[in-house]
């Protein structure tokens, strides 16, 4: 050592406080980021459709193309619209989850077959089972543009008055169904029940 006592010039307390705040602020932000990093929805922009009327459509039924289903005809009770295609690998992953949910018969599950060859789509359903009450076919994909679909699978929950209440992009897992879809459905059912009560109590 040099022999002479070291000149002590400790860091100013302000610098230390700022440094500590900055460090822990950054750390907190990183922890927040890490906890969210497994959420596939984190980069999905909130759909502009939420709490707005679902875009109108009139589409042929996949199994019976001479029949056309119009969006107005679905009013009255909530329904789940699932966008899928036989070309979509993630839809295959989602299929068992969707089937399990559809089997509970809590809500009508409508398939929206997007940009697909009807023959391929029918073959796919034959192979994996058909969870849908009805499948609508849209070979050209016009309706998907109105709904703002960017990729399959996507799932929309529409309430009885035709308003979109919930949306999920990507393959739903059981956790998504249990923690997101069912609560959203419960809210719709509760709102409906409240509206019903209000109607009854009205003179």
């Amino acid at each position: 050592m040099s022999g002479s006592p070291a000149p002590r010039r400790p860091l100013p307390p302000v610098a230390i406080v700022i440094g500590v705040l900055f460090f822990f602020g950054l750390l907190g932000l990183m922890i927040y980021g890490v906890m969210k990093s497994d959420d596939p929805q984190r980069d999905v922009l909130p759909s502009a459709l939420i709490d707005r009327p679902a875009p109108a459509f009139a589409l042929p039924v996949l199994h019976e193309p001479s029949l056309t289903v119009r969006s107005e005809e679905l009013r009255g009770a909530p329904y789940l619209l699932n966008v899928w295609g036989s070309w979509c690998a993630a839809c295959r992953d989602e299929h068992p989850v969707l089937t399990r949910f559809a089997e509970t018969k809590r809500v009508r599950v409508i398939g929206y077959n997007w940009k697909d060859e009807p023959a391929d789509a029918l073959h796919w359903l034959e192979q994996l089972g058909n969870p849908f009450m009805v499948v609508l076919s849209d070979v050209e994909g016009r309706t998907a543009i109105d709904w703002g679909v960017s990729a399959a699978p996507e799932t929309f929950l529409v309430d009885g008055s035709g308003v979109v209440r919930w949306k999920y992009s990507g393959a739903m897992t059981q956790a998504v169904v249990d923690q997101k879809l069912i609560p959203a459905l419960e809210r719709i059912e509760k709102a409906q029940a409240d509206a019903g009560n209000a109607l009854h109590t009205a003179p």
Binding site: M1, P7, F23, S37
Partner: protein, 639 residues
């Protein structure tokens, strides 16, 4: 059997790293020479063990052992041999193993090259590097084991991400890691100095070449990544301010500041504690970069698997290491034993020290600006301010604002004397050259076909830096005519800045882009280049099939090039990749990328004319070369 051996090698390497850090650090604290001497053999043993594990994983790829999960997920029987080698670092586990290998290699190099240092310093430097190794090896073994089996073994692997099947991407990660990890040497030195309680000029001199080499590798790594994005992504840009580009750019900026402040500390004894803080910051930012890329906290093309347990592990490690270093700094930096009677210290406002201080402040501000912009979307999300993305308008304008004074001051740096100088003398030397640079800029403005002020700015800035650098060379030649390697490196680096300025500003100003539909035989003229589309044929690659376009480029009626852009479909995943067709010249690139087929053999084709874009990477390579040449100075090898 081999993968199990790899696992055993990794575990043994962890033990070696524990030995390499625990005993020497304690020994240095208590003054036990025998414990300190463990550091070197332990570091070399760790290097051998990690290299062995890396070799085992490489062998598994070359032999296509799909019973190893990592191989099955990132290889395929159709994968060409060269990519089987590089697929080792094609995804999360393997690239971490590469990280650990590069760290072990740097540690080994330090172990062999640090004999001149006092025993305590050597033990502490190797001990701190061992601590970093422990973290990464534990991360590998406990959360990201590359040797995990997949039984029963699949018959076929899933294939390497086609984006990574490219020569540029073979060497991009190793170069980048050599840079990132190389900053662990100045970091370890800073911790050793803080533990020791003094900053010795000789130790600073000893770390300088290591910092320079690390920074040079990082420069090459970033340039390669930029070059790859340019020709592979098909967008024609060379820098996108993508979170992951920013993650590598932040340590680069801190490293550039560190190179300069280390020079002051070594030669003049000033800025000692600032140099230590910068050394900690450069490596902390390297770790932060690795964390941001690996954890999937920020989405980008680079994030592999998003698994919160992995992210948390590396975050805890990062927080302990960096937090510990900063706490040590806060505790000890004030009482560092700096010789305040040193006659070399002290400087006036008009001195080289002041200019280097300005350099450091500007580079540090640019680094903070990039950090803020990169993390702001996450911050906004956390505070419930909605989904925000920060893009080129923010980064571009702020960066320009911060770098403009940097460029203006750069030529003064080498010409101004240490401690005090007559400002009038230097200004008189450089004023005519500044005037000439401005004149050239004005000429360019007047001549430019578009974006005149940007062209003028680019030419003026590049000319100013070139003239300033040349003026310094002229002064030396007229003097004793001697150039040390350190000085030559500095001049090369500054010339690199000038070349880079030409590329970055002129391509931004003069870039022309057209999207056209072309039927076979049709042609389009873009910025004086006639591009004739001759049709598309089909080509089978090893593991892809491609639609290959044939386009002839004419300039002034003479044929300049035949380009073959491709649209490839990979057999295993069905992913579609574009390969741009590029006629590369120093004066500018003609860049063609295939869009969609439009029927009747017509195709959508994107044509870019990119004047001077090569100068961007050429400038970066010159800067890197400067770093390497400076590191070779004989003075650094003196005891």
């Amino acid at each position: 059997m081999l993968p199990e051996l790899g696992q055993i090698l990794l575990l043994t390497a962890l033990l070696a790293a524990l030995l390499q850090s625990g005993l020497p650090l304690l020994g240095a604290h208590r003054g036990i020479a025998a414990w300190m001497q463990v550091a070197r053999p332990a570091a070399l043993a760790q290097l051998l063990l990690v290299a062995g594990a890396f070799g085992v994983l490489t062998a598994a790829f070359v032999q296509q052992d799909f019973s190893v999960r990592y191989v099955a997920e990132n290889s395929n029987s159709l994968l060409p041999m060269v990519y089987r080698w590089s697929a080792v670092w094609g995804a999360h586990e393997g690239s971490l193993l590469l990280w650990a290998l590069v760290l072990a290699a740097w540690t080994g190099a330090v172990a062999l090259g640090s004999q001149r240092l006092p025993d305590t310093v050597q033990a502490r430097v190797l001990g701190v590097m061992g601590l970093v190794s422990i973290g990464f090896l534990a991360f590998l073994i406990f959360t990201s084991n590359p040797f995990a089996r997949l039984l029963p073994a699949p018959l076929e692997g899933r294939d390497l991400n086609p984006l990574l099947q490219d020569p540029g991407l073979i060497i991009h990660p190793p170069m980048l890691y050599l840079g990132y990890v190389g900053f662990s040497v100045p970091f370890a030195f800073a911790i050793a100095a803080l533990l020791d309680g003094r900053v010795d000029t000789r130790w600073v001199r000893w770390t300088r070449p290591w910092t320079n080499v690390a920074w040079a590798f990082l420069t090459v790594g970033i340039a390669l990544g930029s070059w790859w994005a340019y020709y592979e992504l098909g967008w024609g840009g060379w820098w996108f301010w993508d979170p992951v580009e920013n993650a590598s750019f932040m340590p680069w900026l801190a490293g550039a500041a560190l190179i300069h402040s280390q020079a002051v500390t070594e030669k003049r004894g000033s800025f000692a504690s600032w140099t230590l803080l910068l050394a900690i910051a450069a490596f902390a930012l390297s770790l932060l970069g690795t964390f941001l890329v690996r954890s999937g906290v920020l989405t980008s093309v680079h994030s592999f698997a998003a698994d919160p347990s992995r992210g948390l592990f590396i975050l805890v490690f990062l927080a302990v290491l960096v937090g510990g270093a900063l706490a040590l700094y806060a505790w000890r930096a004030g009482s560092l034993d700096v010789d305040s009677a040193d006659p070399r210290r002290g400087f006036t406002a008009t001195s080289r020290e002041t200019l280097l201080l300005a350099n450091n402040l500007l580079l540090a501000s640019a680094c903070a600006m990039v950090l803020l912009g990169t993390l702001y979307p996450l911050l906004a999300d956390a505070l419930g301010l909605g989904k925000i993305s920060v893009g080129p308008p923010y980064f571009g304008s702020l960066f320009l604002l911060l770098m403009a004074p940097m460029v203006l001051l750069l030529p003064f740096g080498p010409l101004v004397k240490w401690q005090r100088d007559q400002p009038s003398r230097v200004v008189a030397t450089l004023a005519p050259w500044l005037a000439l640079a401005v004149l050239l800029g004005a000429l360019a403005w007047w001549q430019a076909p578009q974006n005149g002020w940007k062209v003028g700015l680019g030419i003026a800035a590049a000319a100013w830096v070139t003239f300033g650098t040349a003026r310094f060379i002229w002064l030396r030649l007229r003097g004793n005519g001697r150039f040390t390697a350190e000085m030559a490196g500095m001049l090369l680096g500054h010339a690199g800045v000038a070349v880079f300025l030409v590329g970055a500003l002129l391509v931004e100003a003069l870039n022309v882009q057209r999207e056209v539909a072309l039927a076979p035989g049709a042609s389009v003229t873009v910025a004086g280049h006639e591009i004739r589309f001759e049709g598309v044929d089909h080509r089978e690659g090893a593991n892809f099939s491609a639609d290959r376009g044939h386009l002839r480029v004419f300039r002034d009626g003479r044929e300049r090039a035949l380009l073959h852009p491709e649209k490839r479909q990979y057999a295993s995943g069905g992913q579609v990749m574009t390969e741009a067709g590029i006629d590369a010249r120093l004066s500018g690139d003609v860049y063609v990328a295939m869009g969609e087929p439009l029927g009747n053999n017509a195709w959508a084709v994107r044509v870019h004319i990119k004047p001077f874009v090569r100068w961007v990477w050429l400038g970066a390579l010159l800067m890197a070369l400067g770093g390497l040449v400076a590191a070779a100075d004989r003075r650094f090898r003196r005891p």
